[in-house]
């Protein structure tokens, strides 16, 4: 009980802090200097219609590289934590599990390619629409999840996933380095011509980089899902 009282007291203090922040908040009516720079210069310098994408991929591209790395480490740690130590939990035997059902099997076989295509659309058009590599990667992982749900005996090819992941990561860094050599800096997007605003092949290498990020993030999320679901390696060896 005393723990609860302390928690409430702490919350009261934090709440007071928040209330003072809220009371003192004056909304801007003009863009601040940084935002103004981005809003003015993105279309001309970067050629991307989506300013957020320009910031994520080019202006602050190094941060995104760090983010992708963090995500990679997270996926690796999830895999490591779950793989080490005692043998896995005693699973519900497969025979006792209800079968998937014809409707879901047929439906997923019909929808999975479309979902993957939607994911590709989202990350390829990252510089024109609200999409981007992270969203598209999540959608691709969701498509893989549907595959996994509809056919629990289907194994993810862990090898293919990790090859895809490393390859796209390498290419991402490689494009960054090429930017140093042939354009004006690391991850500079003017490696390719920036084209006309609003076309698919515009904004230099942004679509390429975002596609690579999309593939990498999709692979990472898929491996996370596969690791956290019951269908993991130990289970497979029992099956086969």
């Amino acid at each position: 009980m005393i723990k609860r009282a302390i928690a409430l007291l702490l919350l009261l203090a934090v709440g007071a802090l928040f209330a003072s922040l809220l009371a003192g908040y004056v909304p801007d009516s003009e863009l601040n200097q940084t935002a103004r720079y981005y809003a003015e210069r993105t279309a001309g310098d970067i050629g991307a219609a989506n300013i957020v994408t320009a910031i994520v991929v080019t202006y602050r591209g190094l941060d995104t590289l760090g983010e992708v790395t963090v995500l990679f480490i997270t996926a690796a740690i999830v895999g490591l934590v779950l793989a080490q130590g005692q043998p896995a939990l005693p699973h519900t035997p497969r025979q006792l599990r209800p079968p998937v059902g014809e409707l879901l099997t047929t439906g997923s076989r019909m929808l999975t390619p479309l979902i993957l295509l939607l994911g590709v659309y989202v990350f390829v058009n990252g510089h024109l629409t609200p999409g981007g590599g992270f969203q598209g990667g999540a959608i691709i992982a969701s498509g893989m999840l549907l595959l996994l749900l509809a056919d629990p005996l289907k194994h993810f090819s862990h090898q293919l996933i990790s090859v895809l992941e490393s390859l796209s990561g390498l290419l991402f860094v490689g494009i960054g380095v090429l930017g140093v050599l042939f354009a004006s800096g690391f991850l500079d997007n003017r490696l390719l011509p920036i084209g006309n605003l609003g076309e698919l092949f515009s904004a230099g290498v942004i679509p390429v980089i975002y596609s690579l990020i999309g593939l990498k993030v999709g692979a990472e999320f898929s491996s996370m899902l596969a690791n956290l679901s019951e269908i993991d390696k130990t289970d497979k060896t029992e099956e086969t």
């Binding site: 989506n50 957020v52 994408t53 939990l89 005693p90 699973h91 519900t92 989202v122 609200p130 999409g131 981007g132 992270f134 969203q135 999540a138 959608i139 992982a141 969701s142 999840l145 999320f221 996370m224 899902l225 956290l228 679901s229 019951e230």
Partner: protein, 106 residues
């Protein structure tokens, strides 16, 4: 396009109230799946709120990642813990019969 600001304000109020209600359900629900579902609802409504706040990028990310993937991960883990034959996940740690009168016998 038109003078729609009262409408937008109304939508925002509705979304905010929904989020707060769902958050309280997520904290207080007896059964674990309901708590996770309510947390998913918070993310889902948050993504509409992001759209109202003119940030479609964030809205899409929150919808695909915050609401989608996070919920799926939670349910996978819950299923694994349930498969271990331990119904701890289903009930509150400090109320022994919490989650039992749940209609669906999960």
């Amino acid at each position: 396009m038109m003078s729609m600001s009262p409408l937008i304000t109304g939508i925002t109020v509705l979304l905010c109230v929904t989020m707060l209600g769902a958050a309280v359900v997520a904290i207080r629900a007896k059964a674990m799946p309901i708590a996770i579902l309510a947390a998913g609802l918070v993310s889902l409504v948050a993504s509409i709120l992001f759209l109202v706040l003119a940030s479609p990028d964030v809205a899409m990310t929150e919808a695909a990642i915050g609401s989608g993937l996070t919920t799926f991960l939670f349910f996978f883990v819950l299923a694994r813990i349930r498969a271990a034959g331990h119904d701890d996940a289903e009930m509150d740690a400090d109320s022994p019969d919490g989650g039992k009168n749940d209609g669906v016998r999960t």
